[in-house]
């Protein structure tokens, strides 16, 4: 504790590195096993068994898949635009992961007299006795998710193939439209919270045994945000950019080996992020019974809620057929955006009369 580097205590650096490592390893493992869980859950919903051969009930399947993809041949099409082709998977993957920097996954824990908030981009100020985090946390997430579109658009364009280009064009139109609807639907939450900091939004939802959750105050916003986010990350029933019946594999048709795996990882990492964000904004974040008294329970509740929402995503995938393209655009621009705007107005009027 006595050692200081560049004006900050040694413990600060150790805590930061530990938080980054733990969060990233957690997301990576979740991504790996989400692929397994998805195959297993959809399998059982369709009265099949899913993967059974690799390990006990197929538990080693993600590792086997990973090893297989590592050793596949790496193909770069001769007519492709090489730089954009190589950089596209990275651009898809990085925004999906760095979004996790601002999501609070637990309360404040104390190690050797040093208080550590369980959120990567946050620190505990001992003089102010308060946790400081990125005070535009939600805007940061919206900004990062607006960058995710580049990976897909570039992959579609750089492959120099008709299917890829069609997939890329669909993806960009879809992601831009639903970004607006998702952004508008969470404005109603900020009108209640009065802050953009995710730590404070979680704090505001702590009371009343769960009835302070914004899910109960803003059910419409919660529903719209979740659906729009599914569309923004190209999950079923909005997975038109990779509609295999029409476009082979959409924007990643020409990709092989690890680069294909990176798009896959980006998709699942986005799913984890969207579920984590929905939990933070609407389901009370890491709050739960005894979460403040026993700080270690915070991450447990958080992970349980995130996994539940991920299960819902997979459930939706197993149940619903894919949307048609004009229906998708109609739903985004003519249903969700007007309803989100009306929701903002109604929230404003009610807020005016209550205060």
């Amino acid at each position: 504790m006595g050692i200081e580097i560049l004006g900050l205590p040694m413990m600060y650096y150790i805590a930061m590195v530990a938080k980054v490592l733990v969060a990233f390893v957690f997301v990576l493992l979740t991504v790996a096993y989400a692929t397994y869980a998805e195959r297993k859950i959809i399998g059982h919903m369709q009265v099949r068994l899913g993967p059974m051969r690799t390990g006990w009930h197929g538990l080693l399947q993600p590792i086997a898949d990973g090893v297989k993809l590592f050793f596949k041949e790496e193909i770069i099409p001769s007519q492709a635009s090489t730089f954009a082709f190589l950089v596209a998977p990275l651009i898809a993957l990085i925004p999906a992961f760095i979004t996790f920097a601002v999501i609070p996954f637990g309360g404040v824990i104390e190690i050797a007299g040093y208080k550590i908030p369980l959120q990567i981009a946050a620190y505990y100020d001992t003089t102010a006795r308060q946790v400081f985090d990125v005070n535009v946390g939600v805007l940061y997430i919206l900004a990062m998710s607006s960058l995710g579109v580049y990976g897909i658009v570039l992959a579609g364009w750089a492959s120099n193939s008709k299917y890829s280009l069609m997939g890329g064009l669909r993806a960009s139109a879809q992601m831009i439209s639903y970004e607006l609807a998702a952004g508008l639907s969470i404005i109603a939450v900020f009108m209640l919270s009065g802050t953009l900091s995710l730590t404070k939004i979680v704090e505001l939802q702590s009371g009343m045994g769960g009835f302070e959750w914004y899910l109960f105050k803003q059910p419409l916003a919660a529903f719209m945000f979740f659906i729009c986010s599914l569309a923004e990350i190209n999950r079923t029933p909005f997975d038109l950019p990779e509609a295999e019946t029409e476009l082979v594999s959409g924007f990643c048709t020409e990709y092989s080996s690890m680069k294909y795996a990176m798009f896959f990882m980006a998709e699942y990492a986005n799913m984890v992020t969207v579920c984590a964000l929905t939990v933070t904004l609407f389901l009370g974040g890491w709050n739960g019974p005894m979460a403040v008294a026993v700080p270690i329970l915070g991450p447990v509740y958080f992970i349980a809620k995130v996994y539940f929402l991920m299960f819902v995503c997979m459930w939706i995938r197993a149940t619903l057929p894919r949307y048609r393209y004009d229906q998708l655009m109609h739903l985004g621009w003519k249903v969700f955006i007007p309803v989100a705007l009306v929701n903002i107005v109604v929230t404003g009027i009610i807020g005016y009369f209550i205060n």
Binding site: A84, N135, L139, A143, L147, Y150, V153, A158, G168
Partner: protein, 167 residues
């Protein structure tokens, strides 16, 4: 710590800004420009203006550049293989020289001063940048804000009418 960070970001900003004009492929230029916008957003964070930073990334990198990339993709502009010698080079270098000269004179002659007025750095830190921007936009600068919105609306309506005529 902050100086080191600033230097790294500045290096990235300058290299990517140079790449914007030197890249042969328009898509690669666009990517470098996005990188430059990102570095600018980082400067805003260092200047205690997190809202500006988020808006910079969302609007410029996230919306406007997507539109640019989209246009380049659809027009299918290929790698520029024009001849190396042209008069553009001479005019460009003359304009560039005077711009640099101008900047150097301004930077040497002027003295950096903190912003004056009621909104000092401490006050922005205390109240919060987002809150201050929001309050000012919807109270003091309400009329300019509304006029800008109407102008944008008119532009959108105009664009829709122009596009619809061709269909």
């Amino acid at each position: 710590m902050e100086t080191l960070f600033f230097l790294i970001i500045t290096l990235v900003a300058i290299v990517s800004a140079i790449l914007v004009v030197t890249c042969k492929n328009p898509i690669n230029s666009a990517l470098s420009l996005i990188m430059t916008f990102f570095c600018l957003a980082t400067y805003y964070v260092m200047l205690d203006a997190p809202f500006m930073a988020a808006v910079q990334v969302m609007v410029y990198a996230g919306a406007i550049m997507v539109l640019m990339v989209f246009t380049i993709m659809l027009l299918n502009i290929r790698v520029d293989a024009s001849k190396k010698h042209s008069h553009k080079l001479i005019f460009g270098s003359i304009i560039g020289f005077f711009t640099v000269l101008n900047l150097v004179v301004v930077l040497v002659k002027s003295r950096a001063a903190l912003p004056t007025g009621p909104y000092s750095g401490e006050m922005i830190k205390k109240i919060g940048h987002t809150e201050l921007v929001g309050r000012e936009i919807f109270t003091t600068f309400l009329l300019p804000f509304e006029i800008t919105s109407i102008l944008l609306l008119v532009a959108i309506v105009g664009a829709v009418i122009l596009a619809k005529k061709k269909i």
